[in-house]
């Protein structure tokens, strides 16, 4: 049963990623695109975890850990850069 649930859940996450991609391409503001990228990396993280369950391997979880850390840093840096034109305050 868990194989069918994995397939269904993978389909749902892939549709969610497609919707985020649409918002990434169509977003009227640049912050909409940053938000779409944030959603996209979280969903990609879930897809990697589901593939790790399916193949019963540990390598995918290392990749998911790296995605979780780098995605957060990317979102924070992009949001600050969009707001201030600078990432690190120089004062």
């Amino acid at each position: 049963m868990i194989d069918h649930a994995l397939t269904l859940s993978l389909g749902m996450f892939c549709i969610a990623m497609l919707l985020s991609c649409w918002r990434l391409l169509a977003g009227p503001d640049i912050l909409d695109r940053v938000l779409a990228l944030d959603t996209l990396y979280v969903n990609a993280l879930a897809v990697v975890i589901l593939l790790g369950i399916r193949f019963r391997t540990q390598v995918f979880f290392e990749a998911a850990l790296v995605i979780a850390m780098l995605g957060f840093v990317g979102t924070v840096v992009t949001a600050r850069f969009v707001a201030r034109g600078d990432v690190i305050d120089h004062d």
Binding site: M1, I2, D3, H4, A5, L6, L8, S9, L10, G11, M12, F13, I15, A16, M17, L19, S20, W22, R23, D29, L31, D32, V34, L35, A36, D38, T39, V42, N43, L45, A46, I49, L50, G52, I53, R54, R56, Q58, F61, E62, A64, L65, A68, M69, F72, T75, V76, A79, R80, V82, A83, R84
Partner: protein
């Protein structure tokens, strides 16, 4: 698949968690694609996607914890990371939006806005004369 079979309850619980997580992520992405303002759009995916990843992580912990194949330290680390960082990222996004364009700030809750918001069912565009 060639993996060893899980007991029925573990199988059922993991399947339910997986499907619920996928449904949460789907609802969040639909909200991201369909809502009409940035301040509305920031609500949907930041919470629902966190729950979606949480469902997948719980199912993974259940499966790998039952089979005893490996330690579940990775799931715990990812859970801590996602659940701590996702609200911070959303907060920074909204702060950036307010700094960029303070004029688009929505009215405070409880105060009457100047113009009533548009109805949820927009008026159909006028049909051109034939």
């Amino acid at each position: 698949m060639t993996h060893e079979a899980l007991p029925f309850t573990v199988d059922l619980l993991a399947s339910l968690l997986l499907v619920a997580g996928g449904a949460f992520a789907l609802v969040g992405a639909i909200g991201l694609a369909r809502l009409r303002d940035f301040y509305l759009r920031v609500h949907a995916p930041t919470k629902a996607s966190t729950l979606g990843v949480g469902g997948a992580l719980l199912a993974s912990m259940l499966v790998f914890g039952w089979t005893g194949q490996r330690v579940v330290i990775h799931e715990l680390l990812i859970t801590v990371f996602v659940f701590v960082t996702a609200p911070i990222a959303a907060h920074l996004l909204v702060k950036s939006a307010l700094e960029r364009d303070p004029a688009r700030r929505p009215p405070e809750p409880g105060t009457a806005p100047d113009a009533p918001p548009a109805e949820s069912s927009p008026t159909p565009p006028p049909t051109p004369p034939a």
